[in-house]
Subunit: 250 residues, 2 copies
């Protein structure tokens, strides 16, 4: 059994994730926003790497059903309907809509994972569902990769913390002796141990968290730290993220 954690997509080659089950984490705030939006009835999220790409993608969609969302340096992009605060993505606003979401870090991580067998978007708000899916991927293939978005191509402690919590949940009985982990996974376990069960403590310690609080997004931290409030499984495939629905019986 093998679990790899990568702290940023910067050092990844396309081959590193090909055919693997991958979990992507951008806790502040893209992953959280995506889970909240899908849980609140959005039809799909189309991630874009830039404002320009978001506009280009939106052009090819029916205007009535599309919402442009995204941030630049944590602030809503001018002219876009929504920023990247999960609080904006209410059922009234996003129900039935397709959302084009421009976010640098999260989108880079998703693009790096293209070619994976399955790509799950993980946050605290959907943590339990992600753990379940990751566990079943591990049981099936014996292999999992967790890709942190990081911040501006660099290590972000809130994503590493999330990766560590997930890794810890997935360790088999017997712990590290029965699973092969890379250095990133080892380190993420230490970071998770340090902050314990306290999502908010990790978010408040992080540079990005402090920055968001200073910009007036303090309430976002509380949302991003709330475990299992939006138990949805966002899957990324064919450049869109949709909520996985369990196959219907019959």
């Amino acid at each position: 059994m093998k679990i790899d954690v990568f702290f940023t997509p910067a050092g990844l080659s396309p081959g590193d994730l090909a055919g693997r089950a991958v979990v992507v984490v951008d806790l502040l705030r893209a992953s959280t926003t995506i889970a909240v939006a899908l849980s609140n009835g959005a039809r799909a999220i189309l991630p874009a790497a830039s404002t320009e790409e978001a506009l280009r993608i939106a052009q090819n969609l029916e205007r009535d059903h599309v919402l442009l969302a995204g941030e630049r340096k944590s602030v809503r992009i001018e002219g876009f309907a929504l920023g990247n605060s999960p609080l904006e993505f209410t059922p009234e606003v996003v129900g039935g809509k397709t959302i084009v979401l421009a976010t640098t870090n999260g989108t880079q991580a998703l693009i790096a994972a293209q070619g994976a067998r399955e790509i799950v978007v993980a946050a605290a708000v959907n943590f339990g569902v992600v753990v379940q899916r990751a566990r079943s991927a591990l049981e099936t293939s014996g292999d999992l990769a967790i890709v942190c978005a990081g911040s501006e191509r660099r290590f972000a402690i809130e994503d590493a913390f999330t990766a560590g919590r997930l890794t810890k949940m997935l360790l088999p009985q017997g712990g590290l002796k029965r699973v092969s982990v890379n250095d990133g996974a080892l380190a993420s376990l230490e970071i998770a141990r340090h902050f314990g069960e306290k999502w908010l403590r990790a978010l408040r310690a992080s540079a990005h968290g402090r920055e968001l609080a200073a910009l007036g997004f303090g309430q976002d931290l509380t949302v991003c730290a709330s475990q299992d409030t939006h138990p949805v499984l966002p899957l990324y495939a064919d450049r869109r993220i949709t909520a996985h629905r369990a196959p219907q019986e019959g």
Copy 2:
């Protein structure tokens, strides 16, 4: 006061380190080899990013005084006098010589740091000297960046451990309340706390350390884990690393 730790050079832009005091860490094994070689009388180390670059650099130097050294996937490059094991760099072999050292990870980190005010090469073997120099840089400018070479553009736990030990030594009284640290520095402190004073434990836990041991370089781990055996201060400037000599009095 500000301390930043970067886990790989991959996410760095040239501006990030410009004008700063920088410590570069590639514990397994380039940093160690460099410190050992200089301590054993080598005149200078010229880092090269590839076999080809090493050959090109060597061509412009007097043949009698030059040694080609370097590894590819931990093994000595064919035709080169030396590999990258510190045990090879004895006084008899390297005394008075200029060494062209081809090593992927360490060299990338040094190149990323170009434009810094000062670049120090850190290992366990010269740890005390590095701490002293870093402390004085912090006292002078209030600012320090620690750049880990990592492994193949990725996080390496032995470099992060070294960065954490160094950061811990540099914290002022009052600890984290009196210094601004980035997420990398925070995480490195946790990793250092986990392994404690035990360099060898960190090296043995690391993927690279286990790989070296499997290749028969187990003794190298012991050398790379030996603190303050080679108290030399390697400074990188103008594409060469030389031992800093304290200014002579009088």
